[in-house]
Subunit: 149 residues, 4 copies
């Protein structure tokens, strides 16, 4: 299995697992070691009062994309747990979907960092506008083995 194939399988698995990211409808567009691209289609239950995507939804997509970018760049069995997440909101996320593009900018033995650009745009990816940027810092830890059922 190539590194790209493994990275994509990892991000798909974490994204599709029952829980927050799958319930809001997160779609994996691309995933390579150190780089992840996600999309989130607009849905009424993701909006704030103005009709744009809620800042928390944007923060969550940023966190998930950044975590994927970092974890796909780490050795197998190691994952990043978010310590700090900072999001700057630039304009209303009022398009049909949001796209998050994350890349790891630092992979250390104990700390990893990723940057994320978030775009709002049409479903077909036609016209995009940068609507937020984010930075996440991660503690690098061993993935605990699943408890035996």
């Amino acid at each position: 299995m190539s590194d790209d194939t493994r990275a994509r399988a990892l991000v798909e698995a974490v994204t599709r697992r029952p829980g927050y990211t799958s319930s809001i409808g997160t779609v994996v567009l691309d995933a390579r070691p150190g780089s992840v691209e996600l999309a989130l289609p607009r849905r009424p239950d993701l909006l704030q009062f103005s009709g744009a995507m809620h800042g928390g939804v944007i923060a969550g997509l940023a966190d998930h994309a950044a975590g994927g970018a970092v974890t796909t760049a780490l050795p197998e069995g190691r994952i990043g747990l978010t310590i700090d997440l900072g999001v700057t909101y630039l304009s209303a996320a009022d398009g049909d979907r949001m796209v998050a593009r994350a890349r790891a900018v630092h992979i250390g033995t104990t700390i990893a960092v990723a940057h994320v650009d978030l775009y709002t745009g049409a479903d077909d990816g036609g016209s995009e506008r940068l609507c937020a940027t984010a930075r996440a810092t991660f503690r690098v830890v061993d993935l605990s083995p699943e408890p035996t059922p």
Copy 2:
């Protein structure tokens, strides 16, 4: 109507409106001018792979609480729009519910800032543990009038 009553009515109205905050089940515990307390009960669709609340859900609750703390401290007709949201994750949000306590620390004519402490704990509020802290910066703007239907 007292200031406290008006603050509570405002936060209740924004929280209950159809959209993200109502769909995830946000509960208003308290709201006064410059100070808001929210709760979010644990639900399977709010969790990450480890079974704790997802970082994005925590960020969203922080943003909403901070926005309430700021807006209730502003003159009527003015609201805060988030520019920057920073969340530091301290420990897993693995309790039955999360509680966010936000207070405005600066109310200017163009910029406002709020701090939020986020606790994970039991449903009865019995044993709480600080699991995250957040800081949000807001642009202060006029609330656009509702479009006539």
Copy 3:
């Protein structure tokens, strides 16, 4: 030696050592385990073009105060190294001196966090105004032994 005496001695020693904090004139007002108060008198070489203290000087004082708050709360031989520093600037630091009050809000085995409030005011501490708030996240590590000279 009491905990308070040890905390103060530690912060004094780090602050007075030749280097940045001593060269800008940092004064230790108070230091206890988990809590540090520093002052920085106004000096022409610390100002920006408007005559207020430069944002970098404010960030440096915040970082130093936060590091002290965290390290005094850690077991001897362990120190905090800054991972993330976030500063929100609220108003011009145009007084005679700046005072930073930091307190540790989380002390973990690998991560520690401190909050800092920064005030601008008169030399006698008479009238203060909150001019910035900051949050710093630290990696907790063993203090390397001093190299033999």
Copy 4:
């Protein structure tokens, strides 16, 4: 005067003016509209106890570079005042000098944002290592006229 010439003149003027940035020895390597590159040579009074550049010095260089990137992209007579500065420290700034490369990522009518990468390296620019990244958010305001002397 070309836009590049004007941008460089503006950043040079602000950097050389008596005050913090000139007193620490900041050098302008390049400045164009929306993009600024600064260098800061190592000096004993800029270091922390470990011998690396102090986190506050790094934050200050980031703030100054980001402010330059934003202000050179704004119409004449408008400047950016820092609201939020976030710095992530990746490794010790233990080289002969630090280089900051800032670029504006958003220029709005009221808010502007810049990203900064900070490198530690040799004086000749030979071998550089990313040692910090930063993000700064600015309020866009009219530059007040200089008071008549």
